[in-house]
């Protein structure tokens, strides 16, 4: 799951996947902006079926948090 998320996140942010680490704070990545945030939300929806309120999304900080979000939602 982590590998799949990192690959999808790299594509959404147009970054090299090797620069994305589980403990990385994704909003601090240089390519993260109000525009690329849409790509991240779109990716979560289309790749992982994640429907999330912005309040919850805004509370997520790291790439590992995103992985946990997907794992938890898919369990429930």
């Amino acid at each position: 799951m982590e590998e799949k998320l990192i690959e999808a996140l790299a594509e959404a942010l147009e970054m090299d996947r090797s620069t994305i680490k589980p403990d990385g704070v994704f909003r601090d990545y240089e390519n993260y902006s109000s525009l690329t945030e849409l790509s991240v939300l779109a990716m979560l929806d289309s790749e992982f079926g994640i429907e999330i309120e912005m309040k919850e999304f805004d509370s997520l900080k790291t790439v590992a948090d995103l992985v946990r979000l997907i794992t938890d939602k898919q369990k429930s």
Binding site: S34, L35, L38, L41, A42, D45, S46, E51
Partner: protein, 352 residues
Amino acid sequence: MSLLSFNNVGISGLAAAVPQKIINNYKHDLYFNKDDIQEVIDKIGVRERRFADDNTCSSDLCFAAAEKLINEMNIDRNEIDLLLFISQTPDYRMPATSVLLQNRLQLSTSTITFDISLGCSAFLYGLSVAYSMLTAGGIRKALVLDGETRSKVYSQKDRKTAFLFGDGGVAALIERGEQYSTSWFSLNSDGSRESLIKIPAGGYRKMSSCETVTEKVVDEHGNIRSEEQGYMNGADVFNFVIREVPRDFDRLIEFAGVERNSIDYFIFHQANSYINGFLARKLRLPEERIPTTIHKYGNTSSVSIPLTIVSELSGKLNGQKRILLSGFGVGLTWGTAIIHLNDCFIGDIVEV
């Protein structure tokens, strides 16, 4: 559940008007440099849009569209018993702009007129009101006028909205007749999200003052606007739309009991090309049945659905057609409609 259906009522004609002034977005570098705006424009897909001049209101655009429609369809003005004006950029706080248009269009003083103040979903709401009142009987023809001058609402110094919005006006004639079969509507609202798209001041909750018209830097990116200009939290809106619009789409298809394949065209509110592209992919709709005008008129709020029909479906609505409309935006409000058309007249777009 707010699901409606109507029989024997339909749109017999549509016309539209846009301002003459074309804004080329890639050259719209009044406050931002071209490199910075390129990324924004590439994502939202708005290459051009139209801006009304200081003396032109939404009502003027609607008036031009209505004159075109009435004259080219040879409509007897005395048969128009209902005039609805849909806009959030009216001429005045009072009186209602629809009443001014009744006089300008030389309609009878027995005409029912009122305004509907909603945003991007409003054409669907307006149609549902016209369909309802026509179905009640006693009304021969209804004129739905839908106009916006969103260029006057948003700051050109706020990059989140400066490149998105444009102006336009449409006129739709609604009539009863056995040539029209069933139309279906689903209409929704969620006021808990009222702060996502908003003009915070200038109404009666926070009245106009020197402070409310003063421009201020509003974020860490240096975007500038006053409290009497609109703002939009794009990510929140996007996140809501990609979840709720497909859900409503499926709900109405199920309620109507129609096959997707039987729908000739899917006309979405022209929000921006990124949202619209995502919705089309998520709903797995064929690209050739999704007309778009976001590249040339931008986001014209409630006008975008009928303006897209007039601009892109002229000559394609002969005979019987079934089209699906999907509107979503400020409020938030959103809706889906499947309407039946039969030889719908489409006028050429008028430039004002």
